[in-house]
Amino acid sequence: MRKGWFVLITFVTIVALVAACAPKPAETPVTTKPEAGEQLVFATVVKSIAFNWFKRMETGVLQFGKDQGVKAFMEGPSQVDSAAQVGIIEDLIAQKVNAICNVPYGVPENEPAQKKAMDAGIIVVGHEAATAKEGTLHYDVEAFDNCAYGEEMVKELATRMGEEGKYMQFVGSLTNASHNEWMDCAKAYAEKNYPKLQFVSKYESKEDQEVAYNTMKDVLRTHPDIKGVMGAAAGDVVGAGRAIEEAGLQDKIAVVGTSIPSYAGELLKTGAVDLAMAWDPATAGYACNMVALKMIKGEEIKDGMDLGVPGYEKIKLVKGVNGVMVIYGSAWIKMDAKNMDQYPF
């Protein structure tokens, strides 16, 4: 009996502790309401504020506010959760903000809340939501078109390989749509433009650096004359770079792929990874807010226009698969040993 009580008390204590530590339901993030003729208020809502990625985006949002004289801030759940995100959007509607830039965790789950905001007269611009349904966003802003990014990556690789030799690709998984679109477009572009580049294979890293490392070692055994490696997941070039560095081949093999300095920094310095490509969440956040501002000012968003944000100087306007208008920039950034310190994320 006493043991029973002990177990019960332990259980209750644990539940109480967990409940105490659990995130509070989305609180009202700002208290100041915009009044007529006063400063514009722009909110950026992200999947979760707990990621370095979105911390970086916040710097872009705040910069936008400073540059344009808008009260701009970022808000998001402490862990990725569409329901909490929708709750925040509804709070923002109640506060009558002028514009919302939303980076939805689940695109369909966020659509009703976005529509509600639009109905309330708020400008709603999405990011990473190119698959949203028509009428649930005014525009969606993407850093780049996946195919163009893949082509850019293979151009960088080909230059470093002297435009000839064997190259291979990593994807996080064979079912990751963007990874495979980058790599397939890269391959098609290489076939057309670099006839001396020889494609070996596309390997799956399972989003795991250790798998990329082991795979790279086996590729070195199987194709000792390999000259180029492309990575899609942020850890792909890190795993491959480690294997190449240990083999002492960092000067013979070009490694180019998606990554960020906090992952690939050490290897960029040693030259085992030659170039990391990514998009900067700060400029994406800036551009997203900029589109909203232009709309409020009554400017028309046109194909080929300049948003006044680096990488978004000549935007491409395309209708997305589910009807929403998508704005594509060419806002990839290229990081090597020399400039990586400018990108602290």
């Binding site: 990621f51 370095n52 799956e204 650096q209 086996d218 199987t222 240990e246």
Partner: protein
């Protein structure tokens, strides 16, 4: 005696290993090199350790998948804790702190299983999800690459090094010694301790084990504690081998370890299993994973091929067992 060895499950797995190596080596002669052996062993180190931790639980008739989550939470939380206080020393405190956490996490599984009489798998499914969630929510969600100064270079601490013209320097990493020590310990534990014999008894027939006077609760707690500690060792070792701490390390790997233990002759329903068999099972899984690139099988085919090989290989021991049964119980007794 010899006949018994030849008929043993371990020997079949060993033959398959040799056969597969020969096939791969014929297709790609680069496979036959000491650096290949070192590479495969290096990749296998943490799987050996986790499989040895899982083995007693499988023998006792349980299937656990939470050991990967325990490895993740213990290693990642230890690291985040130490760097928070600016720790710059060596690797030993990592093992001490992580193993303590691992012991507690293992005991939690054991407590839930014995106290509420729950199936091991159900409890492990819950703790698997719980620990990964705990890691992501309370400890941190991003991979961490800042290693203390005292641990830099650990990944290249080799016992023997080899120079390979293709893949450069490889070596036999010193953590292979952990594998040897842990393997011998688990072998001794299962064979020569009362608790170890009790593990087989529980897996053979739980009721009989209880009636024979085995303290089932205590035995289960001990084997879960061992699993927790070994998971922590595996998590820390892998993090230093790959030079970064990952909050969701091994999240896709529990089946690789389970498959290795089963290939090695452990029965899913308990009562059977050996350290040598488990070690061979780990090697076989690693080899299958590696051969696909070395033989140039297109990546789209890898999963299909791996599945087919697994079906073939796992059915061999089962078929042999059926034949033994058909031949009658007496034959089996005679073999003993």
């Amino acid at each position: 005696m010899l006949r018994k060895v030849i008929k043993s499950n371990e020997f079949v797995i060993f033959l398959i290993l040799v056969f597969l190596s020969l096939v791969v080596g014929t297709i790609n002669p680069a496979f036959f090199s000491i650096s290949t052996v070192f590479d495969i062993l290096r990749a296998a180190i943490v799987y050996f350790i986790m499989a040895f931790g899982l083995l007693p639980i499988m023998i006792a008739g349980g299937i656990d998948i939470s050991f990967v989550a325990i490895a993740a939470v213990t290693s990642y939380a230890t690291h985040m804790l130490l760097i928070k206080y600016g720790y710059q020393g060596g690797i030993v405190p990592y093992y001490l702190i992580a193993c303590t956490m691992g012991l507690l996490a293992g005991l939690l599984n054991g407590f839930l299983v014995t106290r509420f009489n729950l199936p091991v798998f159900n409890v492990s499914l819950a703790t698997f999800t719980m620990w990964y969630g705990f890691n992501l929510f309370f400890v941190g969600a991003t991979s961490n690459f800042d290693l203390p100064k005292g641990t830099v270079g650990y990944y290249a601490k080799f016992l023997i090094t080899s120079q390979d013209p293709l893949v450069g320097t490889t070596g036999l990493h010193e953590s292979i010694l952990y594998v040897v020590v842990i393997g011998i310990f688990i072998w001794w534990f299962l064979k020569y301790t009362t608790i170890g014999r009790g593990v087989y008894a529980i897996g053979g027939n739980r009721e009989v084990a209880i009636r024979s006077g085995f303290n089932v609760t205590m035995i289960m707690l001990v084997i879960f504690a061992i699993m927790g500690i070994l998971s922590a060792i595996a998590g820390v070792t892998q993090a230093f081998l790959s030079r970064y701490f990952n909050p969701v390390i091994f999240i896709g790997q529990p089946l690789d370890v389970l498959a290795a233990v089963i290939l090695g002759g452990a029965s899913v329903t308990g009562g059977r299993g050996s350290v040598i068999g488990t070690a061979l099972g780990v090697l076989l899984i690693q080899l299958i994973n590696r051969t696909l690139i070395l033989t140039g099988i297109p990546v789209e085919w890898q999963k299909l091929v791996l599945g087919i090989i697994l079906i073939l290989f796992t059915s061999i021991p089962a078929l042999r067992e059926r034949r033994i049964k058909r031949m009658g119980h007496t034959t089996e007794l005679l073999q003993e």
